[in-house]
């Protein structure tokens, strides 16, 4: 299309009339593959994209301002609506942050309950991430398979707290209720059934040669770049940075995983921990590309199953309380606290400042997806249009968390 040089003088009118050099295209906010309401402005030359500018703010709901007018427990439902695919993790992050401010230690049983719930939420969230990524690449069925399994997790959550998407289950002090009787058996039954199904996803996506063609070597992000942009979660670990807050985070958070055996899913010498049961890294894949980000998520699902199993044992053994929530209008001690947790999509930070009243003076959230999204314009430079969904999808963003 770049015939600008060839145009002779008599064609100038035509050139003025029909610009053949570059075109600005709006991808979103109503585009099917922008995961909600992300708007990308693409500067394209034919199929080649030279510049991508993400525009945010279509889902801004003043969540943080609302947090300054409600008590921490009242704000929990609003955190659900941040990363709406991982509401439990949002609840947990905020609860832990407020507990840190209050220096409130939850009982042992509540700790293990939280691990069960948080890791189940991680499975559910990664299932959506995986399925939606298949959708971005034009493969429909894995999405439905992922939703089939996620449905069972949502059923379990519904049984535990009555809600399927916006749970408000984990709260300051512990959880709103204990797990119902028989829940653990159902959970274990689900895990037993789910574990072999993961192979199907690997067969349909991970090892599919078209899938590998579409995402291996695409959107390669170096470890330095990932760190300097503040990426976190699977996006960071997909670039080979060995950082997982469940192991490396603040003590207030890592205490929750005290005594749990797990390895951080990150590539070492061309191998991932526990990847022997799954297909290995294909030769086309480059560390930090879309394929690796996807693969990290897939392995984290596997790992989460192990964690849930460990937590179920510990939870059953614990004899103390599930953690009564604090009073709705519990006075907060004067001071401030900031805590980052490892949500499915990365490091989700919450910040609370209190002037001594029951309502926080400031409530803020640090979004993992926001940082993960910020690399888009760099990763998408000089790619093809078809690579944009592949790259944005591999970052697995949730706009609700970015815009809040």
């Amino acid at each position: 299309m770049s015939t600008t040089e060839e145009k002779s003088s008599e064609n100038k009118v035509v050139e003025f009339d029909v610009r053949t050099d570059e075109m600005l295209v709006n991808m979103g906010p109503q585009h099917p593959s922008t995961h909600g309401v992300l708007r990308l402005v693409l500067r394209t030359d034919g199929e080649v994209v030279s510049e991508v500018t993400p525009h945010l703010g279509y889902l801004h709901r003043c969540a943080e301002k609302i947090g300054e007018n409600l008590t921490p427990r009242q704000w929990i439902p609003y955190t659900d609506r941040m990363d709406y695919l991982a509401g439990m993790s949002m609840n947990l992050g905020w609860s832990l942050c407020v507990e840190k401010l209050m220096n409130l230690h939850v009982p042992e049983k509540a700790r293990h309950l939280r691990v069960i719930i948080a890791e189940m939420q991680r499975i559910a969230s990664h299932l959506v991430g995986m399925g939606a990524y298949g959708l971005d690449l034009g493969s429909f069925s894995p999405f439905l398979y992922a939703f089939r399994e996620r449905e069972r997790i949502l059923d379990l959550f519904e049984e535990a707290c009555g809600a399927r998407l916006t749970y408000s289950y984990l709260t300051v002090g512990g959880a709103t209720a204990d797990l119902p009787t028989g829940w653990l058996q159902k959970c274990e039954a689900f895990l037993d059934q789910f574990l072999p199904v993961i192979d199907e996803y690997h067969a349909l996506l991970t090892t599919n040669s078209i899938f590998i063609k579409r995402c291996a070597g695409i959107g390669v992000m170096s470890a330095e770049m990932a760190t300097s942009y503040g990426c976190s979660g699977p996006v960071l670990r997909g670039s080979g940075v060995d950082l997982d807050l469940r192991r490396d985070g603040e003590e207030w958070y890592t205490n929750m995983y005290d005594g749990y055996a797990f390895e951080v899913i990150v590539e070492k010498d061309g191998h991932y921990p526990n990847d022997h049961v799954y297909p290995g890294v294909p030769p086309e894949a480059v560390l930090g590309d879309c394929w690796h980000r996807f693969y990290v998520r897939m392995l984290e699902v596997r790992q989460a199953i192990d964690l849930v199993r460990q937590a179920i044992d510990r939870y059953s053994a614990a004899t103390d309380s599930y953690g009564e929530p604090v009073k709705l209008n519990e006075k907060l001690p004067k001071g401030e606290a900031y805590l980052e947790t490892e949500a499915p999509r990365g490091q989700m930070g919450f910040y609370v400042v209190s002037d001594g009243s029951a309502i926080p003076y400031r409530a803020r959230a640090r979004s993992s997806c926001f940082c993960n999204l910020s690399v888009t314009s760099e990763l998408c430079r000089n790619t093809l249009i078809a690579d944009i969904p592949a790259i944005v999808g591999s970052l697995d963003i949730v706009m609700g968390e970015i815009d809040r």
Binding site: M23, V25, H31, P32, S33, G46, E47, G134, L135, D136, L137, G138, S139, F140, S141, L144, Y145, R148, L204, L205, N208, I210, F211, K213, R214, L384, I385, A386, D387, I388, P389
Partner: protein, 415 residues
């Protein structure tokens, strides 16, 4: 039938031919429209089953038979939107161009011996050429929509379809070369008898050719994993982004029509067309299988038609299966697949089949003993003598159909 009307009833010949043409056209239209209705329903069911759900279950009984009809009514009653700034005329005619190309190519497609809209001796050429025109509808739609996404879709389609015409053509030439004719009816009849007579089993090269053909056919009708022109995760809906209602549905009728057409073409060229895997009719009718007339001819043709439809529908089902399983390729990968893999492979197969024929190597038809005279003559195989299997180019008079019924059947759909 036309002859009958003219000679016995004394009707004015041009009127008779016009009437016959209209009858043929409406029957073909029925096939394509009815086919689309069935295929869309089938696609839903297949997708549903593949995705571990049920698909439509409510409209029209347990299996949702009427789902497509309900959708059709919905589409009819929808507003016919035209974006501001669109080229009104081109925008309006684009769906019809696409549909007519798909529809037009059905005219030369035989469904069984003699059951063809227009029995032309270059049917293969006609079908491929007319089907290729579908791309014009897509380009027009993309250009006239005044939408950047549509334009992207149209440009992709143009690049893709034009590229894939080459390997597709090469693959189609191979059976044509073996048969020595471009007449689809004759090609079909040459494969009668046991399934080993099908060109798929003619020699190892034709076997591979069939799969290359199928891949290229997928690409040329824009089905996944080559559905780049409407890649919904990239281009919203590609070339039909701005279409709504009935105009939109015309694109879909065209798509499903083309899907059926390339499957049917593949089944005639490689899978024996309307000939079943075993020479059933030859057992029933024995010696007379080649000179059937009247009721027996119709019965044999109905059997053949069923076999043919079954094969074509099987091809379409596999297309659906592929669509709901595989991710989509990128445009550069699609073009690479075409020029780096499909075209060279097809060319090699072409040379391979030529060599096979020249060297007189045994072909698939020789594997099974010709223990029965009739086994080489099936319903619809109205030949006078069995085709010599070593012959690269059977002479025209080895096909007796033309001399017996040919002129009367011409321009006629059924008896």
């Amino acid at each position: 039938m036309s002859q009958y009307l003219i000679s016995h009833w004394g009707w004015y010949p041009p009127l008779v031919y016009t009437l016959m043409a209209m009858l043929a056209a409406s029957l073909v239209l029925l096939v394509i429209a009815g086919g689309s209705v069935v295929f869309i329903w089938m696609e839903r069911k297949v997708a549903g089953r593949i995705q571990d759900r049920l698909g439509p279950t409510r409209v029209g009984g347990k299996f949702g038979w009427l789902q497509t009809i309900a959708d059709g009514i919905k589409l009819l009653s929808k507003e016919d939107l035209r974006p501001e700034g669109a080229d009104a005329m081109l925008f309006r005619i684009a769906p019809y161009v696409a549909f007519c190309a798909s529809y037009g190519s059905f005219i030369a497609l035989p469904f069984a011996t003699g059951w063809v809209g227009l029995d032309i001796n270059v049917a293969v050429f006609f079908v491929v050429a007319v089907l290729g025109l579908e791309v014009f509808g897509v380009i027009l739609a993309g250009y006239a929509s005044a939408s950047k996404w549509s334009l992207f879709g149209a440009m992709r389609e143009a690049a893709q379809v034009i590229s894939y015409e080459v390997p597709l053509g090469l693959c189609i030439v191979i059976p044509v070369m073996i048969a020595g004719t471009m007449d689809l009816t004759k090609i079909g009849n040459l494969q009668s008898g046991w399934f080993t007579n099908w060109y798929l089993f003619h020699d190892p090269f034709t076997f591979i050719t069939f799969f290359v053909y199928y891949t290229c056919a997928l690409a040329s009708v824009n089905r996944a994993p080559f559905d780049l022109a409407e890649a919904e995760s990239e281009l919203v809906a590609g070339f039909h982004t701005e279409y709504s209602g009935l105009r939109w549905s015309f694109f879909f009728m065209a798509e499903y029509g083309s899907m059926f057409l390339v499957s049917a073409l593949g089944s005639i060229l490689f899978l024996g067309g309307w000939n079943g895997p075993v020479p059933v009719a030859a057992w029933i009718f024995g010696e007379h299988a080649s000179q059937l007339s009247g009721f027996a001819f119709v019965l044999a043709n109905v059997l053949g038609l069923m076999a043919f439809i079954l094969k074509a529908v099987l091809g379409v089902t596999v297309m659906m299966w592929i669509r709901w399983t595989l991710p989509r390729l990128r445009i550069d990968q699609v073009i690479t697949t075409c020029w780096k893999y499909c075209t060279p492979i097809a060319a090699v197969m072409f040379v391979g089949v030529i060599s096979w024929q020249l060297m007189g190597l045994p072909n698939g038809g020789d594997v099974l003993p010709h223990h029965e005279q009739g086994s080489r003559r099936l319903p619809g195989s109205l030949r006078e003598r069995p085709f010599e299997t070593g012959d690269a180019l059977p002479s025209a008079n080895s096909v007796g159909f033309e001399s017996e019924h040919g002129e009367q059947e011409r321009g006629q759909v059924d008896g």
